[in-house]
């Protein structure tokens, strides 16, 4: 039965909140920095769902710092729905009671404090998501009422230029604004005319010039000086045993030294194997500085980025055939689209991890840190909705032994999901374990399920210094566990391997050692790296790459 109901309560609420902020808004949509707390107190209500923009790269840190200074009598118990909580202020918010509940994707350096806050009852955790999963929920059941975002430039009409670091902004703003929410932007600079309209002014309610530029973390910068010989060996195995073997052209690389090593030997070892043009042509990838030599030697046709990387702006602008540039000539990143691309259009995900259990589940969670996985799981899984073929995808699918159990003779592809891991980490911490620390974490932080980055059923290859285990070629769990043991080195898991069993798996091509792949271990050293230092990356870039101060050693 049709009920009598008001259908514009959101709109009314929006107007009511905005009227409180009105006195502080001048000259169109401009709010002075010193009035920030006043406008936040005016538009935010108890229990509101609030988004503070930020991920593993850019942060609306000025607005976050202002929110925590708000009157806790007026504003408390907020429900934070946001990509990441990597700054101390994000957790302080829960300590002082401004915020109570959290749904997020990435905790980074604050992982330890998240776990602590959950334990002492200061933080009620909804769930740990992937970026894309969280964005999806913004449009279903976690729509923010107020979003605090950041941009490089803004004008009096509210138009924003987010440029190189557009990242999450479009997803947040669209979800918030089109449900009659309030969008407040901190901008590095108020300008008469923005360089490019990345967010239309109509979608933004207030613009505040922050005293300092927004915080930007160069998370994807890896100093080649710290790449080890073992990482070079593993990179050689990856290129010869996986990239070359499958002809992987479209892919994503995770963060870390393992993939940085791969990027840096493409122009040397990759070239030598004659793989140029046959692999690594299209990426969903942040502008990794370690990609510069491969790009400069003509390996790469296209890169779409989740975010920008500090210092890479000029370089990307000067390589318009590779990166996605706007009509104004500057790059635009977009996390939602790039994650979608990573999920649907890439044939492979390859990245490092901290732990793999004896079944093949892998996680970077430790017993005391709720860190989240950001975007890795979106790419580190088989895209079940994928319907377009590619050689690599089809070949992997054809090798997927147990597929016929479900599909009969129906052909289907499979994404390559590769985890790279040395059997022991620093200080003899084993990479292969009986049980993931994630189980302990789930207990410690009252999580509904252990946080797993990549589940065993998605994982196709494990690559260690001992060899590559082709997991998807295994017939059953028993065989997969034997394959893991066979590459787990001298860890407890590895010591349980029987040499006859491992030998049999090698004969079947389920395990391939460097020798099986025809890789000379003696060549596995840093001299294969196309750039051995950040300085050499700058030289490769013709001075276009401007590395952050902490990476400079000249």
């Amino acid at each position: 039965m049709k009920t009598k109901k008001k259908w514009d309560t959101r709109k009314t609420d929006y107007l009511e909140r905005m009227s409180g902020a009105e006195p502080y808004i001048n000259n169109g949509k401009v709010v002075a920095a010193e009035d920030t707390i006043n406008v936040l107190e005016a538009v935010i209500r108890l229990f509101d769902r609030v988004n503070i923009e930020g991920n593993n790269q850019k942060q609306a840190n000025f607005l976050a710092e202002a929110l925590i200074k708000c009157d806790t009598q007026r504003i408390h118990d907020l429900y934070m729905v946001q990509s990441a909580v990597p700054l101390p202020v994000h957790l302080d918010m829960f300590e002082v009671g401004i915020a109570k509940k959290l749904d997020f994707a990435y905790g980074g350096p604050m992982g330890g404090r998240v776990a602590e806050a959950i334990k002492n009852g200061k933080l009620e955790l909804g769930a740990i998501h992937t970026y894309l999963e969280l964005f999806a929920r913004y449009f279903i059941d976690l729509t923010p009422r107020v979003s605090l975002i950041c941009a490089y430039e803004g004008d009096a009409d509210g138009n924003l230029y987010t440029g190189f670091n557009t990242e999450d902004t479009p997803a947040i703003v669209e979800a918030t604004k089109f449900s009659q929410g309030i969008v407040i932007a901190q901008v590095n600079k108020l300008v008469d005319k923005v360089t490019r309209v990345d967010i239309p002014g109509e979608w933004v309610d207030m613009v505040i010039e922050s005293p300092k530029p927004f915080f930007l973390e160069p998370l994807f910068t890896r100093d080649p000086a710290n790449i080890t010989d073992t990482q070079v060996l593993m990179a050689m195995m990856a290129i010869k045993g996986i990239y070359g073997e499958y002809g992987v052209k479209r892919l994503n690389h995770g963060i870390g030294f393992n993939t940085a090593a791969i990027e840096l030997i493409l122009p040397t070892y990759g070239e030598e194997l004659g793989l140029k043009g046959k692999i690594c042509t299209e990426f969903a990838l942040n502008p990794h500085p370690t990609m510069i030599p491969a790009i400069e030697s003509g390996w790469v046709e296209s890169i779409h980025s989740f975010g920008g990387e500090l210092g890479m702006q000029k370089y990307c602008e000067a390589r318009g055939d590779v990166f996605f540039l706007g009509p104004d000539g500057t790059m635009r990143s977009n996390r939602a689209f790039s994650q979608t691309a990573g999920h649907y259009a890439c044939d492979m995900f390859i990245g490092g991890t901290l732990q793999i259990d004896k079944y093949g589940n892998s996680s970077t969670a430790t017993a005391t840190r709720v860190a989240g996985f950001g975007g890795a799981p979106n790419m580190g899984c088989d895209a079940k909705g994928r319907r377009h073929p590619s050689d690599a995808w089809l070949k992997c699918g054809a090798e997927f032994t147990s597929q016929s159990e479900y599909l009969g003779p129906m052909p289907r592809g499979k994404r390559l999901v590769v985890q790279m891991l040395e059997s022991f980490g620093e200080k003899m911490v084993p990479g292969f374990v009986d049980e993931l620390d994630a189980w302990q974490l789930a207990k410690n932080a009252n999580l509904a399920l252990p946080p797993v980055m990549i589940y065993a059923d998605d994982l196709t290859h494990i690559l260690t210094e001992e060899g590559i285990a082709f997991m998807h070629k295994c017939r059953n769990l028993e065989e997969r566990m034997a394959a893991i043991r066979g590459v787990a080195g001298f860890t407890e898991v590895g010591l349980a391997a029987k040499s006859t069993e491992t030998k049999a798996l090698r004969d079947k091509g389920i395990i391939k050692t460097p020798e099986d792949l025809g890789i000379d271990r003696q060549r596995a050293n840093r001299s294969l790296l196309a750039a051995k230092s950040v300085r050499e990356l700058v030289d490769w870039s013709d001075g276009l790459y401007d590395p952050p101060a902490r990476f400079r050693n000249w």
């Binding site: 073992t230 060996l233 040395e422 059997s423 980490g425 003899m428 001298f490 271990r521």
Partner: protein, 105 residues
Amino acid sequence: MSKQLHEITFELKAQNPTDFVEDFAHFGVVGSGDMEVIIEQKNLDGAVKVKIVTPVTGYDEVWRRVLERFVNDTGVANASLEINDNNATPVVVSLRLRQALSEVD
């Protein structure tokens, strides 16, 4: 509270031995997570004598297994190996031992 360097010694025999004929070989640097080794020709009735000096305890068995594999893979015999270690992982140990051997090839 006392803290001393830990010493591990044992002897191994390769399955397919080939005598180590160089008088002396040295390789590696005792950086953090790294090690050095001296390999010397010794008449040990085909055996390999190993001595490891390390700040780390609790991995005697892992050391033995890593060295066993090295000795079996390379067939090294009639040699003494002296290792100064500073938290090297088995991966690094295997790598350095092989590099030491190839230095004299």
